[in-house]
């Protein structure tokens, strides 16, 4: 891909080599304040428009959620939940903007077997490099938030890029820019945590004593964070995992199994060496040479 901008890569899928980092890039983050969201879907529109994507016209199934799930085109989705608060007997309409969380420890990148198909930049953005993607779908298994989707057109995986192209030139992601209620903010991770702190103080003063920030430690923190009014129960927000972790199968396969496998390969090499030393090289008998010569004579040296 021809390009005139680059970002420092700190991690790269299926590659043990990582270029050493001399420069220090500031970590960026997007903060989604669930309590300010009105579910207008401006973020969804802006996302499709900026990324030159089109979503199919869907059907209504009795929810404002449209499309019904994340797709290879819709990298972000408003998820609507009607929740009966058992304490107040109030019906609460919870709206959560779903999409890639840009984990500090990305499960997709860990699971990916294609070198360089998933990279993590120094600013924290986890990006899919489509030209290296082999469409195996391991990233979906590796993702604790079930975010990536495989395109039916080119069989490659797609998800939110946190508008890495916009961030690279000092712009905010398209969704964050569009949001008319300031439910989505973008800035340095530090600034976003500060803002979250202010919002939590405000929410607590309004009676939401369990208000908090969602920046799960199980994946090393994320570069997309939520302010939740019920931070003690993230699951009520359309199944946001309380303690997201990379699947143990992925950890095992990309962890212990990898080293055991390498050990077996090394054992094979060592074994072959000792076999050579002890048993010697394969020798060609005089009869074999004679047979081969006879074959060459028969064909006149032509294959």
């Amino acid at each position: 891909m021809a390009s005139y901008q680059s970002a420092d890569v700190v991690r790269r899928s299926a590659t043990t080599f990582t270029p050493p980092q001399v420069r220090h890039d500031q970590e960026v983050a997007k903060l989604i304040d669930v309590s300010k969201c009105i579910g207008c879907k401006a973020c969804q529109s802006a996302c499709l428009e900026w990324n030159n994507l089109q979503e199919e016209v869907g059907i209504n199934t009795g929810s404002y959620q449209n499309p019904h799930d994340l797709t290879e085109n819709s990298w972000t989705l408003m998820r609507f939940t009607e929740w009966d608060n058992p304490e107040t007997q109030n019906l609460e309409w919870l709206i959560r903007k779903d999409g890639c969380m840009h984990c500090a420890d990305p499960g997709c990148l860990k699971a990916c077997p294609a070198p360089g198909a998933i990279v993590q930049y120094a600013n924290g953005i986890v990006d899919f490099v489509s030209e290296n993607c082999i469409g195996c779908g391991y990233c979906i298994k590796g993702c604790p938030f079930n975010v990536p989707r495989i395109s039916k057109v080119d069989q490659k995986a797609y998800k939110c890029t946190l508008c890495s192209d916009r961030v690279a030139v000092g712009q905010a992601p398209a969704c964050a820019k569009a949001c008319p209620t300031q439910a989505i903010s973008f800035g340095s991770k530090e600034a976003m945590l500060d803002l979250a702190g202010e919002r939590i103080v405000d929410l607590k003063s309004r009676g939401f004593d369990k208000a908090g920030v969602y920046d799960p430690a199980g994946v090393g923190g994320t570069h997309v964070m939520y302010v939740l009014h019920h931070a003690d129960k993230p699951e009520i927000y359309a199944g946001l995992p309380a303690n997201p972790r990379i699947s143990p199968m992925v950890e095992l396969w990309k962890g212990a199994t990898k080293y055991v496998g390498m050990g077996l390969i090394a054992a094979g090499v060592v074994g072959a060496f000792f076999h050579r030393v002890i048993a010697g090289a394969n020798s060609v008998s005089a009869a074999d040479e004679a047979n081969a010569a006879a074959l060459v004579d028969k064909t006149g040296g032509q294959a």
């Binding site: 428009e49 070198p115 930049y121 890029t161 712009q171």
Partner: protein, 196 residues
Amino acid sequence: MLESLSRRAFVRGVGAGLAGTALGFGGSEQALAAEVRPFRLSRALQTRNTCPYCSVGCGVIMYARGDGSKNARRELIHIEGDPDHPTNRGTLCPKGAALLDFVKAPTRTKHPMYRAPGTNEFKQVSWDWALDRIARLMKDDRDKNFIAKNAEGVTVNRWISTGFLAASATTNETAFMTYKAVRSAGMVVFDNQARV
């Protein structure tokens, strides 16, 4: 070259290469090459405008390909909120954020269309023809149904048989003129979507 490469040397070379790849020594030179999608608005022509949907009147910036040179035809490629506009300060609603599709929609009305009574098809007409016809019908209707005085003989100057629907994304001056024109004709039914 090939003759000098024995079968044994070839097998040995391939084996070493495979071992190197399996142990993760491959691809280090590509690690530096991963790059983000190029920013697509770098030299795009920026034009300020106002979102045409509702009367909030958000400011938008329209980005077009082409630098204005004679042979490069301008083409709208992107629209987003104007951060310097006091109304929306860069934000947009879902309709505004998808304005590009609105502009490019194949069903977008670009000319005055006329459906004659009793037909089910629209046909394209000229602005002159359309405005003449509208003026003629309005005049006829007003002459016929204008109420100058009510039952008590009080002057009311009402024209209630015709309504007027004006656009929302107008300037103050346009809105003022529209209001004056409509009300001075006595028209009562009037909406310029200023209620959104």
